[in-house]
Subunit: 174 residues, 2 copies
DNA sequence: TATTTTGTTTAGTAATTACTAAACAAAATA
DNA sequence: TATTTTGTTTAGTAATTACTAAACAAAATA
């Protein structure tokens, strides 16, 4: 019994929706990406409306986030005023782009607040036991964040995070 | 003008709350972890209620998730029926533990659904152009997931993901 | 056995987030 | 200039998630 391609596409799209939700993105975002990813041609807003059942408005805003993260590219055709969207197929490139995006994000503001805590403590030093204890703990977390930060910066700088690099990393960690 | 320790703790806690939210966890979870992390002694549920302003019920459920992720440890004292909680201070250990937890998660179920799509396609092969196209795309995503998977498995297996390992990775990626 | 002290579960509410429908804006065409 | 075709913004609703208050359970103590 043969499964229709439509059915397969639908299942795949639903899978990506769940993955998207798991990472804290709207599930619609996953669906939009999936539809574009499986399409041989770039799609217009209205075509995406057709395929996903979402509203133009929703897609308009969510696709902008996708584009900002580098997971989707916008293009135009001469003599056609529609925008066309296609999915990034180099996932490693996409990861780099997401990490870069992250640098200016709400997350980094929060991470910076830990660093600020440290600065405030340094500037108003009190020499009692608890103060010392807290300072050390905050410092340790800061060190951890710094390590993560240099890792992500290294990854961003890579020309390509292809399979070869992944293999290299794996061999070091063995 | 000296900032009181209480104030510093509050700021730090708020910072971790935001980070927690950014990663898709309830902000209360970040707050609970922060309070435990800055406390020199293990705290009971009621003490955490005091420090965070959350309800016993909320803390009870959220701290169980934290424990499952290995970010918090539960202990008891002889002749005392309270449970006491303390924060994991080895963040690298915590990351390993989170990655491990992830293996059985909703996320993995979704990732597996991509693999299932492939299997279904293999079993009902149709030799037309679009089918081929879709198959290749799904396969590419699968390969990507596999690469990520071997990376996380390698990290989980490490005795310790200390600074030395991070440095090693960095040197390979240069 | 009755009471106290703890943690857990449950039913419901508050807060947040995703999404729709519709107004709008901008640009091209008639 | 008026109309059409596109994408965006906005105000409001639906759906989801975080949380509270209170009932409950389990175990220790009186």
């Amino acid at each position: 019994m043969t499964q229709s391609l439509a059915r397969i596409k639908r299942d795949f799209t639903q899978g990506l929706s769940q993955i998207s939700r798991f990472w804290g993105f709207p599930k619609g975002m996953g669906a939009i990406f999936a539809v574009l990813y499986l399409s041989p041609t770039a799609l217009s807003l209205d075509e995406i409306v057709q395929e996903t059942g979402l509203t133009k408005g929703a897609i308009s805003t969510e696709i902008r986030t996708l584009a900002r993260m580098g997971l989707v590219h916008r293009s135009t055709k001469l003599g056609d005023r529609k925008d066309y969207y296609s999915a990034e197929t180099d996932f490693y490139a996409a990861i780099r782009s997401i990490l870069q995006e992250r640098q200016n994000s709400e997350f980094d503001r929060a991470v910076r607040s830990v660093k600020d805590t440290l600065t405030v403590m340094d500037e108003n030093w009190v020499d009692d036991e608890e103060w010392n204890f807290v300072w050390q703990k905050v410092q340790a977390l800061q060190d951890f964040f710094d390590a993560i930060d240099s890792l992500t910066k290294a990854v961003i700088k890579l020309e390509s995070l292809g399979l070869s690099n992944v293999t290299k990393i794996l061999s070091v960690l063995k």
